[in-house]
Every structure is written in C-alpha cells, then in structure tokens.
C-alpha cells in the first residue's frame, strides 16, 4: 500500500510528527499539565522582601513541601496522622481529584467540576476566571468566610458553608448549587464540597502559618503538626460559637412596624452605629467611608503597600496578586443581600458583622457600656428590611417610610 514503511509518504508523515504534536499543543493552548497545589508566594512576599539570601519563592516552596507531606496532593488528599480529624476524608476524597465516575459509577472530582474555575486548585481564589469577576472569588487559605453564623474571628460551621453552596451569593458569580439537592444522585455533593472547602482552608491556613515561621527563622521540625492540630481544632469548635437569630416573623401590626422602622432609622443614622458612613444616609451604598477587604489588605496595607497606587501594588502581580478593588458597601435599597434576605439573615449580619470586610459587628449595650439594645437591633433590622425595593409582604403598603 502507499503507506508502507518504506514509502516516501510514510517517512514524510513520520518526520512531520513533531510538527503535528506542536500544532495540537498550539491549538490547545498548552500541553497537558499535572494539577498541583500552588505555593502561597503572595503571602511570603507580603511578609518579607525578596532577596538573594532569602528568596520568596524558596520560603513559599519550603512551606508548600511541608504541607504536601501533611495533606497530600490535589489528586490524593490525606489527613495528617496524629491529630483529630476535622473533616470527613471519605467525602474529601470524593470532592478531590479529576472529574468523572469510577467503574462503580461513583462520581468524584466535584471541586474541579463546580469550583476550580474561580477558586483555583489550592482554594486561593485565583482560578482561571478569577481576574474577571467582581468581587474576586474567595481565597479559602485565610480561613475567613464572610457569611456565617459565628462571630468575627471564628470559623464558619459546616452548615454555613453548605448554605452558601446551596443558595449562592446574589449579585456575585458564586452560583447556587441547590439544584443538585433536587436530584437523588447528586444530593450528597454539597456536603462533600463543604468538607473539601474546610480541608483546603485548614491546609491553606497551616501553609500561611508555616511561611510566617520560615520567614521568622523558626525551627519547623515539629511545627507543621502542631499548627495543623491548632487550626483543625478551631474548625472543630466552630459549632460551639454558632449564634442563631431570634425569630423575627412579622407579627406586629402595621402601625407598630412603622414605628419600629422609624426607630430603626434613627439607629441607622446615629453616630454609635455609623451605618450611614458606609451605606449612605439613604442606604444606597454611597457613604463616604469605603475600604478594601482583609484579603487585599493582607498583601497591601499590612505589607506596606498602598493599594491605591498602581506602581506599588503592581510589584506583587508576579506573585499572583490581582488588582486591588474596593469592597463597596452594599446598596441596601436593591434588596440584594448576599448572606440572605430574610429578617433573620439581616439580624445575623448586623450582630455578627461580615468577616474580612469593612462591615463590623454592632456594638451591643451591655451593663453600662454604650451600644444598641436588643430592641434597637430589631428596629434596625426592620428599617434595613424596609429599605429594600422588594417588599414581599405588608411593608409594600408602607412605602415612603423607608429611605427618606
């Protein structure tokens, strides 16, 4: 045949093989790459200056190696031996690895299927699509999460994470995966994903602390396990810090609620709460005080870099930094509440604050300390709820009382 091994055409095709391969590689953007966790160079760069003696990449890489020893790789995650288990590793195993089903039809790779595009393999919030999103996807490695039922400084509960996965965050790129729960086949997916997010957060926080130790020249022999244990414990204790909102069902009369809203408006505009400084007097998010979130401050202000000056923050781009963006105050009149739009959700946001963002927890009146009473908080919730352009119940009859 014309394609026998001695033919001219055969030899030409054979010689062209490298060109074919390169052509395909060009068409596909790049050759196949191993999926690995990315070292946290940005954190290392925010803690120390790059120098020939102590290159940033080296300290980040050293910490990365220690963490891989403890927690494994993206395809084969493991839990450090000798410390209390803070996640369900069977579920972590199902969420990790490449997407697909095994011969028993059990699905795995849930994280790469649903999350990696934005949150990245390491949970660093630097997935391929991240730079185009506003706000940027969450970096799990600080162990900080915004919408939860625990106070600032405490880890979110497992149900908090599942809730965010299920309901999504309105007005952001975070999808609601509640549809998965409707199918029997995918019903356990969100639970598995929440465990994997916990796993990545614990892993990432241990890595950050190890980088700090390495930069400070501490002995890292037994440190990784100690740090892992400490971080894992903080996650295990999350449930004990959980706060639940009182039931705020609208049982009052319309007159009572109008009075409550008026009272809430006073609280909103007061110096004590200073809500209007960020959210604006009309609650439209046009306040004078606007700030960056903690994820940005981490590598800018805390590292002596002005996030408003491009010349300064641009030096961190090579370590994976994305352009600093102001964490704008919510326009309360739009009715878009990321953490949930019920009165109970708003109550929790006011009482607990939003971790990592400029939104603080409200100062409660305790003993002789100045602050807002429980009734005042409820009035404030009623007022914020009334500001929304969407008034699902009787409040729609009371328009005009809200923002103005």
């Amino acid at each position: 045949m014309f394609l026998n091994k001695n033919s001219c055409l055969y030899s030409r095709l054979r010689n062209l093989f490298p060109c074919w391969f390169l052509g395909f590689a060009f068409l596909s953007g790049c050759a196949p790459q191993d999926i690995t966790f990315r070292a946290n160079e940005l954190h290392a760069a925010s803690l120390s200056q790059d120098s020939a003696e102590h290159p940033i990449s080296e300290s980040a890489q050293s910490a990365q190696e220690l963490v891989i020893e403890l927690f494994g790789t993206p395809d084969s995650p493991k839990w450090p031996e000798g410390i209390a288990v803070a996640v369900d590793m069977e579920k972590v195993g199902r969420a990790a690895g490449p997407v697909g089903r095994n011969v028993s039809k059990i699905e795995r790779g849930l994280y790469r299927k649903h999350c990696v595009q934005c949150h990245g393999t390491s949970g660093d919030g630097m997935g391929p699509a991240s730079a185009l999103l506003a706000p940027y996807p969450r970096d799990f490695r600080r162990g900080s999460f915004k919408f939860k039922s625990t106070p600032i400084g405490k880890k979110p509960t497992h149900s908090d994470l599942v809730r965010t996965l299920e309901k999504g965050l309105p007005g952001t790129s975070m999808p609601a995966f509640g549809t998965l729960n409707r199918s029997k086949e995918f019903a356990g997916d969100l639970d598995a994903l929440a465990h994997y997010v916990r796993f990545l957060a614990i892993r990432g926080e241990v890595e950050r602390r190890l980088i700090l130790a390495i930069v400070n020249g501490e002995d890292t022999n037994s440190l990784p396990l100690q740090l892992a244990s400490k971080v894992a414990d903080s996650w295990t204790l999350a449930d004990s810090h959980s706060v639940s909102a009182p039931t705020l069902v609208a049982t009052k009369t319309l007159e009572d609620r109008l009075a409550s809203m008026e009272s809430g408006k006073t609280v909103f505009l007061s110096e004590l709460t200073a809500c209007s400084k960020c959210h604006g007097k009309a609650g439209d998010g046009q306040g004078t005080s606007q700030d960056f979130d903690d994820w940005t401050k981490d590598w800018t202000i805390r590292a002596g870099i002005d996030p408003t000056k491009k010349v300064e923050w641009k030096t961190m781009k090579k370590y994976g930094a994305l352009k600093p963006v102001i964490d704008s105050s919510r326009n309360l009149t739009l009715g878009a509440f990321k953490g949930g739009a019920t009165r109970e959700d708003i109550y929790l946001r006011i009482v607990l604050g939003i971790e990592g963002s400029p939104m603080p927890a409200i100062a409660r009146k305790e003993n002789d300390n100045p602050g807002i009473t429980e009734d005042g908080i409820r009035d404030l919730v009623e007022y914020v709820y009334s500001l929304s352009s969407v008034k699902p119940d009787v409040l729609s009859d009371a328009k005009g009382v809200g923002a103005n």
């Binding site: 395909f24 068409l27 596909s28 953007g29 790049c30 050759a31 196949p32 790459q33 999926i35 690995t36 490449p98 997407v99 697909g100 089903r101 095994n102 011969v103 039809k105 699905e107 790779g109 790469r112 299927k113 649903h114 990696v116 595009q117 990245g120 393999t121 630097m126 997935g127 391929p128 699509a129 991240s130 730079a131 185009l132 999103l133 506003a134 999504g168 965050l169 309105p170 007005g171 952001t172 790129s173 975070m174 999808p175 609601a176 995966f177 549809t179 998965l180 199918s183 086949e185 995918f186 998010g285 994305l322 326009n331 009149t333 739009l334 009715g335 878009a336 739009a341 352009s389 969407v390």
Partner: protein, 346 residues
C-alpha cells in the same frame, strides 16, 4: 439562462442533508457534555461500563445520572451519524460522477471516525486537552457535511452567474476564517485548565470579544454589500447573508447570556433584578444557553462556508449570465431542467 454544469443522483444530496442535520444535535449533545463536565461520566471506551455501546441497558441510561445520560447519548448518536455517513459513502460511490465529491464523502466518513477515536482517547487518557481538540474539530466535521450537502444541491448543479458581487468572495473567506478562529478561542474558554493563570484566561476572553466584534462588523459588511442597489440582481447571496445576520445577532445575545449564566453580570447594581440575580450552578436553562452559544457558533461556520461556496462557485462558471444554455439536456433530470429554465426566465 443558467448553466447546468453537472448532475448526480438526488439521493447523495438527501443522504448528505440527513447526516448533516444529524450532526447538529450531535454537536449540541457534545456541548452538553462539556457544560456538565460529563466527559468522564463513562470511564471506559469504546464500551460503556463494560457493556457493548449498543447493549448498555436502556433503563440504566435513561434513568441514570444526568451526566451519564448525556455522555452515553453523545456516543450513541455519534455512532448513528457514523452509520449514516457510511450510507452516504455507499450512495455517493455508486451514483456520484464527480470523483472529488466521492472522495470528500469518504473524507467526511474518515473525519467522523477520527473524531470518535479522539473522543475515545480523551476518555482513556482522561485528557482535557484532547477534549478541547475534540470540541474544536467537531464543528469542522459538521461544516464538511454541510459542504457535501451544498455541493450536491440543485443550486450547485445549476451553477451561478459569472459576474458576481465584487469583493464578496474575499469577505466570505475572511468571515469563515474568523468564525473558525472564534470557535478555537471559544473551545479554549470552555475547556479551561485549572493550571491556567487568570491573565491567560482574561486575554482569551478579550480575544473572544474582539473577534465577536470583528465578525459582527464583517457580517454587517456582507449584508450591506449584497443589498446595494448595484447588486440587487444577485439574489442568490440573500439567503446566506440573511442567515449570517440572524445567527450573528442571536450569537451575540447568547454570548452575553452565557456570561451572565456562568458568572452573573458585571454591572450588578444597574437594576434590582441584576443585583438579586443568583447564578444557578448546572441549572437547566443556564446549560441550554451556554450549550446553545457553542452550537450556534458551529452554525456560523457552516453559513460562512455557504456564502464562500456561493461566492466562488459563481466565479468558477465559465459562461457569462444570460448567454449560457442548458447543455446535455438528456442527462439532466426533468425537475432540474424546469428549475433552471424558471430561474433563467427571471
């Protein structure tokens, strides 16, 4: 009068149309496989969970997980398309007089087989990069089927006038090249790898947007060109031009919708509705929009090719308009003769 250049059995055209029309839903299903990341829902190939592809229990397929349903369905439909392509080759071999067209039919069959093998290798090696190439070449195979359907149509046999719209051919080729490039960039975005840097993905998105703007511009150029008063007599370009304008418009809308379905709108505070909009992960309509955007892209390629064929087919006819006569009437089926005369009278 219009020239009748060559005539073959209408059955080749019928088979070609059938295979091409079957290839489009195949592209849809392939798109759904990508949207639902279902490429590895069946971990073996060419079988399905150890069964022969055609013997996999129907109930396990229909009532199984959605990703398995989509992936196995994609394989089954691909096999059906392959079988019909074999039929096309047989019919073309027996009835078609143009040997180059018979060769093209066999090339079409070979490309379908190669596409199937590529999809299989993607599964065996679990290689997302191969999935990307599979996604790029699928619409090209579809376009090849479309080309065979065009080359066997009555219109092709009748030929076209010689003096055509000046510059349209080059514009059509440019549009075809742009559409194929856009397909490649789109396939990259759809199959992005977790290892990619955000800056790379961002540059791909910007390239995709830029190409979309250029394509729209070229499509508008084509539309204006074929509607110029001086080109009024060349009605044969109206249909591809109209189709391109319609598809490009739909495609732009689907592009915006795809972004919103995947990542929400960038202008969340524009209206309360946008601010409250929550992206639905793997929602039905979201999947349809995203997949529809990809499938419409392949239609864009076929329509560009349609315009290219009409533009260059016309200039390949030797005789000038209104001076040609129907030759070899005995070899022309009656229906072709009638249509040729009717068009000539116009």
């Amino acid at each position: 009068m219009w020239e009748v250049t060559d005539v073959s059995s209408p059955w080749v055209h019928r088979w070609a149309m059938m295979v091409t029309l079957l290839t489009f839903p195949l592209i849809w299903l392939g798109g759904l496989v990508t949207t639902h990341d279902a490429g590895m829902a069946v971990p073996d190939w060419p079988g399905t969970f150890g069964y022969n592809l055609f013997l996999y229990p129907m109930s396990a397929w229909i009532y199984g997980p959605f990703d398995l349903f989509v992936e196995h369905g994609h394989r089954l439909l691909a096999s059906v398309v392959g079988l019909f392509a074999i039929g096309l080759c047989v019919v073309a071999y027996r009835t078609e007089r143009r040997r180059w067209l018979v060769g093209t039919c066999f090339l079409f069959l070979a490309s379908i087989i190669a596409q199937g093998v590529l999809g299989g290798v993607r599964v065996l090696f679990d290689a997302r990069t191969l999935a990307m190439i599979h996604g790029c070449s699928g619409p090209l195979v579809f376009a090849l089927g479309g080309f065979i359907a065009m080359a066997t149509s009555k219109r092709w046999h009748l030929g076209f006038c010689k003096a055509g719209v000046k510059g349209l051919g080059r514009l059509a080729v440019l549009l075809l090249l742009l559409s194929v490039s856009q397909l490649f960039v789109g396939a990259h975005l759809r199959h992005s790898l977790p290892t990619w840097l955000p800056s790379f993905f961002m540059s791909l998105v910007h390239t995709h947007l830029l190409l979309a703007a250029i394509i729209l511009f070229v499509v508008l150029g084509v539309t204006i060109l074929v509607r110029l008063p001086s080109n009024r007599e060349f009605r044969e370009f109206r249909s591809p031009s109209n189709a391109l304008l319609a598809i490009a418009s739909v495609q732009i809308l689907l592009g915006f919708a795809t972004w919103i379905a995947n990542y929400a709108t960038p202008w969340v505070e524009l209206t309360p509705w946008l601010a409250r909009y929550t992206v639905q992960g793997k929602g039905f309509w979201e999947s349809m929009i995203v997949t529809g955007h990809q499938a419409t892209g392949s239609l864009m390629i076929v329509c560009s090719l349609w315009l290219v064929c009409r533009a260059y087919r016309q200039s390949s006819i030797a005789e000038p308009r209104k001076q040609t006569t129907i030759e070899s009437k005995n070899s022309v089926p009656k229906d072709y003769q009638a249509e040729a005369v009717n068009i000539g009278v116009e």
